[in-house]
């Protein structure tokens, strides 16, 4: 089980890989679309990479609820449990 800090760090790495954003810019309260300027195609790529990294499944219908980085960390954390 990854801790929330580890999940955040892992997500930041995935976001950096996809968008080039500095990992430290990926903070819990940041919105993927508003703050990080991530489009839907990049978001799906990030989701699929997160699934592989954390060994979870993030259903397509759940993705629209992941508005902030914190939402994604919480979802992954509970999906791992």
């Amino acid at each position: 089980m990854a801790s929330n800090e580890e999940i955040l760090a892992g997500l930041a790495e995935i976001v950096n890989e996809e968008t080039g954003l500095a990992p430290e810019a990926v903070e819990l309260d940041k919105s993927f679309t508003e703050d990080l300027d991530i489009d839907s195609i990049s978001m799906m790529t990030i989701v699929v990479n997160a699934e592989e990294k954390f060994g979870v499944r993030i259903p397509d219908e759940e993705v629209k609820n992941l508005k902030t980085v914190g939402d994604a960390v919480d979802f992954i954390s509970s999906a791992q449990a």
């Binding site: 996809e18 968008t19 080039g20 839907s40 195609i41 799906m44 790529t45 699929v48 699934e51 592989e52």
Partner: protein, 411 residues
């Protein structure tokens, strides 16, 4: 009155140089870009051909990692060449609604398509990335260039196999003459040095098997020619309405005087042995540009180095230029960089424009025993072209019976 169209920017990334100045210096020197492939897949799939001509500058040395991730390798090359051509043109301000793109490819995103197929088989549908479709579509390169430049007067992708790059110039000329655009970013891009296309071209006996001597494998017009060498890369040219170029005091390389496209309707892959379609294309481009045979001093030939392909082009040149063909300096630059498929016409157009502008014809390498049935005056060491008003032609022919010709006139 027909609008005059000029060329004001050039870009290229090729197996003999990652930019236009490097490519041009090498083209005059005469070098080979063909190398033995070190990839594990050559042995794994027991490919009959072990070499190809890769770009000298990997795309990731020019593009950022994040940019490159969203582009098929063919689009990466296209964007690199287009950026160089755009910077070279010196255009700083333009109405986006008057700027179009005509950027060709022969195959399109073959790496992306086949990688995604491998991913599907090995990891399942969830791992097939959402960028797969926009990366594999053949118009991906025109779309990426249009996005990059903010070009809104249309983004087009002519696809006619190995004539595609030249057909893009034909379309670009039309777009400006018909008043639909003032400036067109034209070009062609290809990245197909992948085991599947190598196997497929090989199975149709199109590729040279000179595995022990890759640098001497591409040998147009030579008696021992045995097929083409697969190349990759991109070429780009900024076409501009003359009045638009003059108004901004642009450096003008030459005039795109005439273009043409014809179809053989003879055989799906074999060229018409009498070169009738190619002859009609040559005559049509000359008619379009009001060019007399005597005006033509140089031809950048299609000349891929296949046993069956090189001769009909000679027949066509002879039919279109008559006895004047003897006075024309012919360069077969695929001898140096291999065959860039859908990019070849664009890269060869860049070389043809430079030949007219610099008044120098680039070199044909590996011509040791010239085929007596092709008595052309082949340029084997860089040669000066005459002063005064001159015209050069560049031919491209593609599987499917496509013939395309561009005519460049000095300014």
């Amino acid at each position: 009155m027909t609008r005059k169209v000029v060329i004001t920017g050039l870009g290229a990334t090729t197996p003999i140089g990652g930019d236009v100045p490097t490519m041009w210096q090498n083209a005059l020197k005469g070098v080979s870009g063909a190398r033995t492939l070190e990839d594990e897949w050559v042995a794994k799939y027991e490919l009959p051909v072990h070499f190809a001509a890769r770009c000298t500058t990997p795309a990731l040395e020019v593009l950022s990692r994040v940019e490159a991730k969203r582009m098929d390798p063919s689009t990466q090359f296209g964007v690199i060449a287009a950026r160089e051509a755009w910077a070279d043109s010196g255009i700083t301000e333009i109405d986006p609604d008057r700027l179009a793109v005509a950027f060709a490819t022969g195959i399109g995103g073959v790496w992306t398509l086949l990688d995604a197929w491998d991913t599907l088989k090995e990891k399942g549908p969830r791992r097939v990335l959402p960028m797969t479709v926009p990366m594999l579509m053949p118009n991906g390169v025109a779309a990426a260039v249009s996005l990059d430049l903010g070009a809104r007067a249309g983004a087009h992708t002519p696809v006619s196999a190995c004539a595609s790059g030249t057909e893009a110039m034909h379309l670009g000329l039309d777009l400006i003459r018909s008043g639909k655009a003032d400036v067109v970013m034209c070009g062609g891009a290809e990245a197909a040095i992948h085991p599947m296309p190598l196997a497929a071209f090989s199975s149709m006996q199109a590729l040279s098997r000179r595995n022990d001597d890759p640098e001497r494998a591409s040998r147009p017009y030579d008696l021992d020619r045995d097929g083409f060498v697969m190349g990759e890369g991109a070429g780009a040219l900024v076409l501009e309405a003359e009045e638009h170029a003059l108004a901004r005091g642009a450096r003008i390389y030459g005039e795109l005087a005439g273009t043409s496209v014809t179809a053989d309707a003879y055989h799906i892959t074999a060229p018409d042995p009498q070169g009738l379609g190619a002859t009609r294309a040559l005559k049509a481009a000359m008619f379009d540009g009001r060019i007399q045979a005597e005006d033509v001093v140089h031809v950048n030939a299609h000349a891929t180095s296949t046993p069956v392909g090189d001769k009909p082009e000679y027949t066509a040149l002879k039919a279109a230029l008559g006895n004047h063909v003897e006075n024309v300096a012919v360069s077969a630059t695929k001898s140096q960089m291999g065959h860039l498929l859908g990019a070849s016409g664009a890269v060869e157009a860049v070389l043809t424009v430079l030949a007219v502008h610099e008044r120098k014809a680039p070199v044909t390498i590996n011509l040791e025993n010239q085929d007596p049935e092709i008595p052309l005056d082949v340029v084997t060491s860089a040669r000066a072209l005459p002063a005064g008003d001159i015209v050069a032609l560049s031919n491209s022919f593609g599987f499917g019976g496509h013939n395309a010709v561009v005519a460049i006139r000095s300014v």
